[in-house]
Amino acid sequence: MDLQSILLSLKAIVPEMILTATGCLVLLYDLLIPEENRGVHAGISAVGVITALFSVLWFGSERIEAFSGMLAQDTFGSFFTVVVLVSLLLTLMLSRSYNDWEGIQKGEFYALLLFSSVGMLVMAKATDMMTIFLGLELLSIPIYVLVGFDRKRLSSVEGALKYFLLGAFATGFLLYGMALLYAATGATSLSGIAAFAGKENVFGNTLFLAGTALLFVGFGFKVSLVPFHMWTPDAYQGAPTPVTAFMSAGPKAAAFAAVIRVLVVAFPESHPFLLKGLWVVAALTMTVGNVSALVQDDVKRMLAYSSIAHAGYVLVGLVSGDRLGGQAAMYYLFVYSLMNIGAFAIVMLLSEGEERGYAIENFRGVGFRYPVLGALMTVFLVSLGGIPPTAGFVGKFYLFSAAVKKGLILLTVIGVLNSAASVYYYLRVVVYMYMLPERAEEVRPRPVGVGVALALFIATVGVIALGIFPKGLLSFAESSILSIFLS
């Protein structure tokens, strides 16, 4: 590679470079300042994230094949960069107050969040299996640490260990799948695999089929699809709540970005075979996630199971396998990040500390005593349940209408039935807030700081505005998905 192409390549990873530099800065600055000032890291990190967001606006629309085809910056990558950065920004706003309450205010927390996000951005832009793997590892390892960040609390460490063991195992699957695919095709680049699949009859090629299957098992772990979802409830419940909120948004979006790119770029010909498998997984994921969420009495755990179900809804868009489905999935991932982080923020405010849990009993009478919190929680839950006029409804509408257009009637019926069932457990919280008498001993919400208030404001405005005016985000998603379909 000559100097010119390296410099051009660097232009494709500007947001990654900004986040890395910010992470290093936070790590070093943490050593210089006294313990009680550590909240300032949230601010420094937020400045870095906002700068990165602006850099996406400046450079993001240009298509650049970087580093000899290992990475590509296109509108598709930029879309997911925006999703990850927005989730990261909201998480930073929540973390500052939360870390003070729980006594885990440390610079490493923010540095790890930033480094993990770099991995997500790499994964969203990766066009080669090696870069996908690199991004995935960079994404996962800081998240393992963050789940166990509250190391004095047993549930946090337990969640981290479970997540780490299963995650490392899943990485093995993914890597083995990549190795088999390389053995079968002689290429690690997605376009190389596509070229091979276009020439040869891949259905008779056992290596190729086994590699593909293992690759998708690995991805299934990361986005917690049934039957690879076992780690999700414990890891989500044990993790510090802002980390849980982030895990359900950023890493999931990044992993789905890689899945979409692999499906579209590497397997355009062998689609039917893969899509049948994903059909079954999508139906299972929605059903198991929702049925398990029905019986949860801990709101945080309920949201963990509901996040499994939502991965299933997104997968319906991928099973459609066309432009409309992909576009709907991307739209849904964005709005899901907003509403889920919002819901976790309220859950975080209405608790008496991680040790005491997040029992649904805490929500009794909240709607009247704290009307703003109650109203916001209702908005997020209604959106998660997919009721108009929220963004959650529009997202589900597009996902299922894309599936119907493709003739996936049975899958759509399963999805809609699931969505109806999910309304039960979302609205159950609303019933507790507005229709049940208050508890004898009152749960005082945590004091709402500027950061948390701002995060709630952004999430609420996003959920409602994107529900009423979905056009802008949808056309952004459309041009993004086109940028990989046509390339």
Binding site: L3, I6, T20, C24, L27, L28, L31
Partner: protein
């Protein structure tokens, strides 16, 4: 497959030599059995404890730090060999790499990971 013949020969030679020496020493060597022969390692020192005991977690920290800088060397070597060819840009790129590692080192140092209390 012609080019794999030397590999196959080497493999065959290795197997024959290894098994040959083991069989030979088993047949011809003197045999004296004592308690000490049952130790996992014969080094002339009597054993003083079981090998299966708890090891302080500090070793893991040292091992991880070692791994980091060991890998750094793995990257520095090829760079040093191709230093002239890579030119100024290679130099800058390597400095960025080392800078990131140094950030990690400074962090580890300052937060006391290198102290052994």
């Amino acid at each position: 497959m012609q080019e794999y013949l030397p590999v196959l020969l080497l493999l065959a030679f290795a197997v024959v030599a290894a098994t040959g020496f083991m069989v030979l020493s088993g047949l011809t060597g003197p045999k004296r059995f004592e308690r000490g022969k049952e130790d996992p390692f014969e080094c002339g020192m009597p054993l003083f404890s079981d090998a299966r005991r708890r090891v302080t977690v500090k070793f893991y920290l040292v091992a991880i730090l070692f791994l980091l800088f060991d890998l750094e060397t793995a990257f520095l070597y090829p760079w040093a060999v191709l230093f002239r060819k890579l030119g100024l840009f290679g130099f800058i790129e390597m400095m960025v790499f080392i800078l990131i590692l140094v950030v990690g080192l400074v962090y580890a140092w300052k937060s006391g990971a290198l102290e052994w209390q």
